[in-house]
């Protein structure tokens, strides 16, 4: 019962907040709505007994990635947009239609998933250790590759920020 209340409340807020990201003409408000959506996702992870991922969600998304977004918006000094959405009435209609069709397909396909067992209350501590066990056995190669990827991104980001003017200097 209380699970249902919490779940529906959370889903309602997350839907409203993500619609805020979509419709708010002010980029910084979009970013803040996204922060709140991320916190909602982290709470969903808590509900699914994935406590470690919930914490990582808070640290990585809410605490790092979205801070970068907000900083970049401040850097550009982006104001309320005059033209928020892309041009063309029919294009827009087509895009919304695509979205709705996609939603229907997704929901229909999810009902093909057989109804599974109850959510067992496993200890969070154990889950994190299992996660680490998998990370260092089955996915060890991916893990090392990710380290290299992050190194490459660090180098690339610094190099990109060095570019003055660009190739199309007037």
């Amino acid at each position: 019962m209380e699970a249902a209340i919490v779940f529906y409340g959370l889903s309602f807020f997350m839907t409203v907040l993500s619609l805020g990201v979509l419709f708010n003409p002010n980029p910084i408000m979009s970013a803040l709505y996204l922060v709140l959506t991320m916190i909602g996702v982290s709470l969903v992870f808590f509900m699914l007994d994935a406590g470690f991922l919930a914490g990582v969600q808070l640290i990585v998304y809410a605490g790092a990635v979205l801070v970068l977004f907000v900083m970049v918006i401040m850097l550009f000094d982006l104001k309320r947009e005059v033209y928020t959405f892309s041009r063309g009435f029919f294009t827009r209609l087509l895009k919304v239609f695509t979205g709705v069709v996609f939603l229907i397909i997704l929901v229909k396909s999810f009902f093909l998933v057989p109804e599974t067992k109850e959510l067992l209350n496993s200890s969070t501590q154990m889950t994190t250790k299992n996660l680490a066990g998998l990370l260092f056995t089955e996915y060890i190669f991916v893990f090392e590759l990710l380290g290299l990827l992050l190194l490459a991104v660090a180098i690339g980001a610094v190099a990109l920020s060095r570019i003055k003017g660009g190739t199309h200097a007037e």
Partner: protein, 123 residues
């Protein structure tokens, strides 16, 4: 489930407290007619030099990018640190240590590169 309820309850409580305080100061304070001079931003009493928003150095955002990347590498160390003791008792501690050693090596290379490329210099 209980933890989610507790977190939501706590956040709601704090938010209500904060809203109450902000609303209270708005209601209780004296109502003085706000002149345009009073509304202008405070720059130690001298006249406002540039209005509000100046361009911000790109440096800050570069710091934020590097922060994200290193933060993720640190996050990857957490499950390792948690499971390292178990790995040792189960007898495959050396492999896990070696795997993390390679990862930390990449981390160190990244850090050294950033230092060498002067991305971390602040004039």
């Amino acid at each position: 489930m209980a933890s989610v309820i507790a977190i939501v309850f706590l956040i709601t409580l704090i938010a209500l407290f904060g809203i109450f305080l902000v609303w209270g100061t708005a209601k209780l304070g004296p109502k003085i007619k706000q002149s345009s001079l009073k509304k202008s931003s405070y720059e130690c009493g001298i006249e406002v030099q540039q209005s509000g928003h100046t361009k911000v150095p790109v440096k800050f955002y570069l710091t934020a990018i590097l922060f994200i990347l290193f933060d993720i590498e640190i996050i990857f160390m957490y499950p390792w640190a948690i499971s390292f003791g178990d790995a040792i008792t189960n007898g495959y501690g050396a492999q896990v240590l070696a795997a993390m050693g390679v990862f930390i090596l990449v981390f160190i290379i990244g850090l050294l590169w950033e230092m060498k490329s002067k991305a971390l210099e602040w004039e």
